[in-house]
Amino acid sequence: MSKRILIVDDDTHIRLLLHRTLEELEGMGVEIHFAEDGLDGLNQTRALQPDLMFLDVMMPHMNGFEVCREVRRDPALVKTHIVVLTARGQTQPPLDLRYAPHEIMTKPFDPDIIVARAAQVLGVSLDFGF
C-alpha cells in the first residue's frame, strides 16, 4: 500500500509550496492529498488514514491544534505522524501532551528540512544526486 501525506492549510500558496517541496516523493510512490480548512482536514484524515500530515494552526472551522487533538484521540489513526506548522509567535496554547502533535515547526520553514523529515518519517530514501 502506498504511503500518504495530507497537507492541511487554508492558504493556497502554502499548499502549492508544500506540494512543490514534497513533489519528488511522489516519484517514489507517495500520494499527496490536500485539505483547505480544519474540518475538511479532519474528515480527510479519517478517510485516508495518512502516514504523515502537515497541519496549519489558524484555519476556518477548526484550528490545527483542535484537529490534532481529534486525530490523536482516534485509535484508528495512531500511525498518523502529525507536524504542526505554526506562524504564531511566543504565545503557544498550553499543550495537553496526550493529544500534542509529534512535531511543531515554525513558518517560514526551510523546504529542504520539510522534505528530509517527510522522507525520514515515511521511511523512503531520497536521491540527493550523489
Binding site: 500558496h13 502554502i14 517541496t21 489558524m58 506562524a87 504564531r88 511566543q90 504565545t91
Partner: protein, 391 residues
Amino acid sequence: MTLRAQDTVSVDDRLAASKAEIEALTQETLNLYRQVNLLYRIGESINACLSSAEVCQLVLRESCKILRASAGIIELDDGTQHGAAPEAPTSELRVPIENAHGRLGTVTLFDKRIGFFTAADEKLIRAVARQAGIALENNRLIQGLLQKNQELAQVNEELTALDRMKSDFVSNVSHELRTPLASIKGFAATILVDEEMPTEVVREFVGIINEESDKLVVIINDILDLSKMMSGHMKYELSRSPMEAVLTDVVRLLSVLAERKGLTLTLEILDPCWVEMDVNRMAQVFKNLVGNAIKFTDSGGVRVRQWTEEDEVCVAVMDTGEGIAPAQLPHIFDKFYRVENVVHTREGTGLGLALVRSILERHGGRVDVESRLGEGSTFTVRMPRVPAPEA
C-alpha cells in the same frame, strides 16, 4: 498624766478631720481610677473604630456615662455632627478636638443641674478629645490608604488586561507577518535550488512572491499607521469631497473579494452629500469595515447604505455574517482587541477597527455597532456634512 476636757475635744475634732480627709482622698482616688479607666477603655476601642462616625459616637457615649452628663454633641469642622443638644441645658462643657495638624471640631456635654461640671471634668474631657483627635486623623489616613489601594488594584487590572492584549497582538502580528513570509521565502528557495526550472514556472512563483509581498506591505502599513496615530503624528489632508465617490471606489475594489466568496456586495446612495475629509483615510475606514464584513460572512451578502439625518451623513455597513457576542461588543474598537473565538480561525491583527475609530474621531465623526450572534452586524458611521461647493 491628767487629760483636760479641751484636749479631749481637740482629739475628737482631729479624728473627724482625718476621717473627712481620708474620705476625700478615697473619693479622689476613685475619681482618678474612673478617669484612667475611661481613658484606657476609649484608647482601646477608639483604635478599633473603622469610621469617624464610630469614633464620635464612642466618645460621646463614654463621656456622658463617666461624667453622668445628660447629653452631648460633637460638631466637626467638615460640617458633620453627631449626637444632639438637649432643650434648655443649664450646664455646658465644651472642649476642642485637636491634633498635630490643627482643630477638627468640638465636643460639648450638657446637663440640667446648675454648675454641674467641675474643673476635673474638663481636664478629663480634654484628654478624651485629644485621643479622639488622633483617632480621627488615623481614620482619615486609613480611609485614604484604602481608597488608594482600591485605585491601584483597578489600575493594575487594567494594565494586566492591556498587557495580555499586547502579547496577543504580538502573537497575531507575528502570524500575519510570517504567513506571507513563509510563501516568499519558500518560493524563493525553491527557485534557487532548481537550476533547470522552466521560465513560466519561475514567473508563476515570482508572481506569488510579489502578491505575498503586497500583503506584507498592507500589514506593515497598518502597524505604522496605528503607531503614528498613537503618537499623534498622522497627517490629514482635508478637502471638501463627495461621500459617494469614496464609497463607490471602495465597493468596486472589494467586489472581487465578495465575488470570490459568493457574496453579494451592494451600494445604495439615498442622499448624495459632501464631507470635509481626507479622502484616502476615509477610504481606509470603509475598506476596513466592508473588508471585515466580507471576512466574517460566509453566506448572504454585504450592503452599504448612505443617507443623511439633519446635519449628519450616515453610512451603514450591514452584513449577514456570524455576528458579535454582546460581551465582546464594547471592546471591538480597542487597540489589539480580537474577538476571542476568532483568534485561531480568522486572519487579522486586531488593528483595523482601532484605526477606523481613530480616523473618524479626527473627522469629528463616530462609529456605532449593532450585532446579533448568527444574524449579522451593522456598523454605522456618522459624520458632519458640509454644503456642496458652488459650481
